[in-house]
Amino acid sequence: MKFNNSELWFSFFAVLLLTLVYVFVVISTGSIPAAGEFFGHSLGVAGFLLMLMTETLYTLRKRSRSARWGRMSTWLKFHIFTGLVGPYMVLLHSSWKFNGLAGIVMLLTVIIVGSGFIGRYIYTAIPRTVDGAAIASFELEGQIAKSEADLQRLINTRTSAMNALPQNLIATNNTQHSTFFLIFGYVFYEWEQRWLWWKQKNNVDKSLRPLISQLEKMFRQRRLLRRQVASLALTRQLLSIWHAVHVPIGVSLFTAAFVHIVAAIYYATLLR
């Protein structure tokens, strides 16, 4: 499944915009906006609502089997967007003071965001359909068999291109690495492979380069499928562990956040 990073870009621009507004307010007022004043308070309220959406909307969608609520991948993107922008607004709301319960809430927020990044990484390691549904192991094996057949056909008809490639590039087997490496260190291995293929393409005759590119694509697909098959069981296990940790942190965060809100209303507004 192709997974682009549009939600990260959207998040980046939203964070940039918020930063500019914040800097403008700081310069124009000559002070850091206090959490209890209008601007700081607004940031806190909006940030918390975004975090609440992060916590609820994606979970609701996951539990709905109907496709009419939109693709899972889209909801995940929105989940990531609100999960990044909301905590950033809460961070600005803190007025850079991290004492008391508010500080604990902020700390938990940072932890939950970091945990979210890890969760996303593990999540993307599991092969999924376009709708985000996980692909079973036997389905993955079928895809590998088909990929191998396609590759073999191409090799048989394009012997000239195959002869131009060094054997170590063709015979590389990524599954020789440990499963843990396949999950957390695979990105480095993949960069190395792409670098080798790129160098090789520059060494062969120009007429062969399109064919080499096609072969590289098929080999890359094979590598990915082999990696996924080899690491699928551990990835699912890790995702389960992550989930077991992430959810309590989230629950603790929101429990503390609700207490903070009630306390803020009582102490900062009602108390005279």
């Binding site: 979970t59 603790s252 102490y267 009602l270």
Partner: protein, 478 residues
């Protein structure tokens, strides 16, 4: 199989939530409200204990020591002065700083100037210049929002370490940076007691004297303040500066006081020569030809006081009447033109009426001699041949001024005019040629032939003089 419950509603989630709440509750029970404190309380120990403690940090966690419950009538300020009884005593006096602040601003609270929860070593007095009613101290910060370098003011910029004290030299230090020449000159003129005049509302860069009751115009705009404000070093003295022209310009008076002390009646601040005297306010308003004259035509040697205002005082030589009409030229003439005569003849002893109105002046006043013109009718009207010598010269007995005719005769007549029941009769009926002769012919049935016939029947041959036999107009048989 996938679970349809929310993660937070799972056993782990619920346990975590309960655990979190328990932790918060436990901490609150043991440590008070510290967990909800927005920051550490000030820990600087005071010289004296108030409310049993010498610093706010000693009551950390006891939120209710300062914060009043929302359901009570008490406010935070009440709890402040419950401990700080010295401030409570200050508030009893209307002249203390605190009482002035609270009297002027009912919404003002202690924490507006004394915020806490900003750290153990943070200052307990932090005035927000945007909120602090500095004008209540007698000096507004309206004109002191930013320093000469553009930075916002802080309390220390004017008060150094003790905000309750102020050194007037601080004004000079800053204002010399802005304009040394002006500041020095200003202080030499008005002293260094800036606060005696300035209350902070005005911005001296934008000071506009024209907004005051004595706008500076003309030459006044360019003179130095001390020219008028002589050693004035308080706002009362500045406001008491005399505004009368003579207070400053007595020595400039070239009229030596003959026109009084209100120079502005004639002069403007632009220039002494720029005279704009309104002659109409004098006893001799200028009209007609008089408005074209130069002042010195009447006011010889610039002597204005006592200038004669009678016509002949200037126009004696112009009098073509050689004084025969006296000196009141204005009775006939206006100031627009000598020829523009508007004499009211009704004022004379011969009011014009009837046909006299249309008669040209020179018809009666020969050679423009007006004095002594005779008013008798005969002076102008000859006795007509029709009744020459018969009546007196008093024509008006029978005639009116509209026309000679018709005339009425009401004097005794030798022949009864109302005989034979006739109502009125025209003189011409009997006196067709002259009043000296008469005829009866033409009247009634009297014709020459029937009168001759009737008298011949009676044997009368001499019947030419009817009045001899019929003096009363009646027929007589004897």
């Amino acid at each position: 199989m996938q679970s349809h419950r929310f993660g937070c509603l799972s056993a782990t989630g619920i346990i975590t939530a309960i655990l979190t709440l328990t932790l918060i509750l436990s901490f609150s029970l043991t440590q008070g409200g510290v967990l909800f404190s927005p920051g550490q309380l000030n820990a600087e120990k005071g010289e004296q204990a108030w409310g049993g403690v010498r610093s706010h940090a000693e009551i950390s966690g006891d939120c209710a020591a300062c914060h009043a419950h929302p359901w009570g009538r008490e406010r935070m300020e009440d709890r402040c002065i419950a401990c700080h009884i010295n401030i409570a005593e200050e508030l009893q006096s209307t002249e203390s700083l605190h009482s002035v602040l609270f009297i002027e601003n009912t919404t003002f609270t202690c924490k507006d100037c004394h915020p806490d929860h900003r750290g153990a070593n943070a200052k307990l007095t932090l005035l927000d210049l945007n909120r602090f009613p500095h004008q209540a101290t007698g000096f507004s910060l309206n004109a002191h929002q930013k320093m000469s370098n553009g930075e916002p003011f802080s309390c220390e910029d004017c008060h150094d370490k003790d905000i309750t004290k102020f050194d007037v030299n601080t004004c000079e230090e800053c204002h010399r940076d802005i304009d040394q020449v002006f500041t020095q000159a200003h202080q030499e003129t008005f002293s260094k007691e800036c606060l005696a005049c300035h209350d902070g509302v005005d911005i001296y860069n934008d000071f506009d004297h024209n907004l005051l009751s004595f706008p500076l115009e003309g030459e006044h705009a360019s003179i130095t303040c001390s020219k008028c404000h002589l050693e004035d070093s308080s706002i009362e003295k500045l406001q008491a500066t005399p505004r009368e022209c003579y207070a400053c310009h007595q020595e400039d008076d070239e009229h030596n006081g003959e026109f009084g002390e209100s120079c502005a009646v004639c002069h403007t601040p632009r220039d002494w020569e720029d005279v704009t005297f309104d002659h109409s306010i004098s006893g001799f308003p200028l009209e007609g030809k008089h408005t074209d004259l130069d002042c010195e035509d009447c006011h010889i040697d610039e002597v204005y006081e006592g200038t004669a205002s009678a016509c002949v005082d200037c126009h004696l030589e112009d009098d073509e009447h050689k004084g025969e009409f006296g000196v009141a030229c204005e009775q006939c003439h206006t100031s627009t033109n000598w020829e523009d005569v508007t004499f009211d003849h009704a004022l004379s002893n011969f009011p014009l009426d009837g046909a006299h109105i249309t008669v040209a002046c020179q018809d009666c006043h020969i050679d423009q001699v007006y004095q002594g013109t005779k008013t008798e009718c005969a002076a102008c009207h000859e006795d007509p041949a029709y009744h020459v010598g018969l009546f007196s010269a008093d024509c008006i007995t029978c005639h009116i001024t509209n026309a000679w005719s018709p005339a009425t005769y009401n004097e005794p007549h030798t022949f009864p005019l109302r005989h034979e029941s006739s109502s009125s009769i025209s003189c011409r009926t009997c006196h067709d040629v002259s009043f000296n002769i008469y005829t009866c012919y033409g009247c009634h049935e009297h014709t020459p032939s029937n009168i001759a016939s009737e008298h011949r029947e009676e044997g009368i041959s001499n019947y030419e003089d009817c009045m001899e036999c019929h003096p009363d107009g009646q027929e007589h048989d004897d």
